[in-house]
């Protein structure tokens, strides 16, 4: 790849680094700002300019957040919000992976009537974002009595054309002989899926899991619609609810704490699964 690079001279390396560092600073600054703000008192935050370095109130703020002075926002603790969001994000990520793997498996490895029609049906739903079908979906959820339930939060977001497409592309790279060898060895469709396809897809699943977990974690519009009770809110919704229009009424220090807490789990997922994530994007074990 060396010949593909723009240059390797000292100057171009320096320029490259400069641009990268600049990018990092721009991306990281708001996060740094939030983290810093979460360590100051409300009074300091409301008196601009806000200091650039962490303040002395970190312990007090985080203690406050966890022991309940924000319970006035809908009367729900931060832990409850984090648990809700984790369940929703995990449910969406795992559900999407299961559904899309199963449908991709059927489309690639089975010959059934209207196979391509099924594929195209799934494929064209790519063109319909959640927002377009949000009203009918809401009606269905109401009819099923799934408002204010985890199922209601998770189910409508599970079907995924993108993930199905990704798995389909991956499955198509698996030589047909492998399927036939397993058949000769006596493996039925389920065994082939479990013993051969699943282990081979491990890195793909990991990469997709990271992406989908973050997708689920940051959902805003759907959780806002489908939850009435504060105890079923996700952390993103709660954050929005904490901010009132009159600036002075908003406990900015606690908002910042909650923001940091909301950012942490996705960051942890990315950091912990980074190696798998990269592996899943660049290499396939075949």
């Amino acid at each position: 790849m060396a010949e593909g690079m723009v240059g390797t001279s000292r100057r171009s390396i320096a320029t490259g680094h400069l641009l990268l560092i600049l990018g990092c600073v721009i991306v990281a600054f708001p996060i740094w700002y939030v983290t810093v703000a979460s360590t100051h008192s409300l009074r300091t935050i409301l008196n601009p300019p806000l200091p650039m370095l962490p303040g002395p109130e970190a312990y007090a703020n985080y203690f406050d957040a966890f022991t309940g002075s924000i319970t006035r926002i809908g009367g729900v603790s931060v832990e409850r919000l984090l648990v809700n969001t984790t369940i929703v994000a995990l449910g969406i990520a795992i559900g999407k992976i299961i559904i899309s793997m199963a449908s991709a498996y059927a489309i690639v490895f089975f010959r059934f009537p209207l196979r391509m029609a099924c594929f195209w049906l799934i494929f064209i739903t790519l063109m319909l974002p959640v927002e377009v079908r949000i009203m009918p979906t809401y009606k269905v959820m109401v009819d099923l009595g799934l408002i204010d339930t985890y199922a209601g939060l998770i189910l409508p977001l599970i079907a995924s054309a993108t993930a199905t497409l990704l798995f389909r592309q991956f499955f198509m790279t698996i030589p047909n002989e492998l399927f036939e060898a397993a058949r000769v060895d006596g493996a039925g469709p389920w065994r082939f899926f479990k013993d051969i396809l699943l282990p081979l897809s491990a890195t793909n699943i990991a990469a997709l899991f990271v992406i989908l977990f973050i997708y689920g974690w940051t959902q805003y519009l759907w959780p806002l619609l489908v939850t009435n009770s504060s105890s079923m809110n996700t952390i993103v919704i709660a954050l929005r609810k904490m901010i009132s229009f009159a600036d002075a009424d908003t406990p900015w220090n606690l908002v910042m704490v909650t923001s940091v807490l909301a950012i942490l789990p996705p960051v942890l997922i990315v950091v912990l699964m980074q190696r798998w994530f990269v592996k899943g994007l660049v290499e396939t074990e075949k």
Binding site: A181, V184, D185, D195
Partner: protein, 363 residues
């Protein structure tokens, strides 16, 4: 171990028939090779035996039992694939053990059976490796081991050596032959390589365009090919074919150029029959007396033991290149442009009917 029999087995995709009724009875422990050019239906036939393709018509019996509607696993067969099809995430041991585990074999019995197969194929030291850590030849042996370990009634090989380099192919060929002898399992082997076919087979099925052109022992195919296709396919370099007509002053064969070749009268077809005369390059030699044919050399391939002289010929057979190849001893000094006087070994001349392509009476 079992017999295998195909009775008028056919395969069609929609209205197009690609295998036009093949029948053969394979004896217990016999090694049958299906050979033919690509697209002749040989792999399809094998896959029908394996149960990977549906059988459109006809019967396939393994050990006297009709298996037409059985899944591959119920047919008691094992198959070696062209690209090996090893499970990439499993160790060599697990690859070999997978089928046995599904069959419910566990523990010591499983280990003993894998170890036995591994020892036969010299894989004992590689059992913990993953397929990607193996060379092509080793992968090939693992694929064999995976088939062997199950001790099936019939072994099926789908061009198993075509991904190996030439040297390895020769040694694996011998190994497969030895192994098959020692375990005595009925085997069907598909290849497009006629040398592989000749060396491995007890009997050969030569296929062309979905038809079994001839089923016989390698030597019988070589000495008595049933038609022009088999004659041209078996043997390397291919048999020379010359178009001609029975007749002439000496009751021999008149070639297209007007030249006459005298042949023993007794077995010649009636005068006027349009024929194709076939003679293998190795059955032509430099004439000492009166030559049968005089040709000019176009090019020479020196192989060491032999020298192949490629000559031009007037007239041809159904689009075949009108080339005439002579296999001369390696020390013969020939060069392009030389004129050669050639004589035929009359006992090795083959006569075919020009219209049907079928073999005529023996000469």
């Amino acid at each position: 171990m079992a017999t295998l029999s195909l009775k008028d087995v056919r395969k069609s995709y929609g209205r197009t028939e690609v295998v036009h009724g093949v029948s053969i009875d394979v004896a217990d422990g016999e090694f049958v090779v299906i050979v033919g050019p690509s697209g002749c239906g040989k792999s399809t036939l094998l896959r029908m035996v394996a149960g990977l393709e549906e059988i459109s018509a006809g019967l396939i019996e393994i050990g006297g039992k009709v298996v037409n509607r059985l899944e591959p696993r119920a047919r008691d067969i094992a198959m070696v694939f062209q690209n090996y099809a090893l499970y990439p995430h499993m160790s060599v041991f697990d690859n070999m053990a997978y089928g046995l585990r599904i069959a419910g074999i566990r523990g010591e019995d499983l280990k003993a059976r894998v170890a036995k197969a591994a020892a036969m194929l010299d894989l004992a030291a590689l059992l913990d490796r993953k397929p990607r850590q193996l060379s092509g030849g080793q992968r090939q042996r693992v694929a064999m081991g995976r088939a062997l370990v199950r001790n099936p009634a019939v072994f099926l090989f789908d061009e198993p050596l075509s991904n190996l380099d030439a040297k390895l192919r020769v040694s694996m060929r011998l190994q497969i032959k030895e192994l098959q002898r020692s375990v005595g399992i009925t085997s069907i082997y598909v290849t497009h390589d006629q040398v592989e076919a000749m060396t491995l087979a007890d009997r050969l099925i030569v296929m062309n365009a979905g038809v079994a052109e001839q089923i016989d022992t390698p030597m019988a195919l070589y000495t008595r090919p049933a038609n022009i296709f088999v004659a041209g396919f078996i043997g390397s370099p291919a048999m020379n074919m010359i178009v001609g007509e029975v007749g002439g002053a000496r009751r021999g064969v008149v070639l297209n150029g007007g030249r006459e070749i005298a042949l023993p009268k007794t077995k010649l077809p009636p005068a006027g029959t349009q024929i194709v005369l076939g003679i293998r390059p190795e059955h032509v030699k430099l004439a000492t007396g009166k030559p049968d044919l005089a040709l000019t050399v176009a090019a020479v391939e020196t192989l060491g033991a032999d020298a192949l002289a490629h000559c031009r010929l007037e007239g041809d057979v159904k689009g075949r290149e009108n080339e005439f190849v002579v296999r001369l001893p390696g020390f013969t000094r020939v060069a392009a442009g030389d004129a050669l006087s050639l004589s035929f070994d009359k006992r090795a001349v083959h006569l075919f009917d020009r219209a049907s392509g079928n073999r005529l009476a023996d000469v």
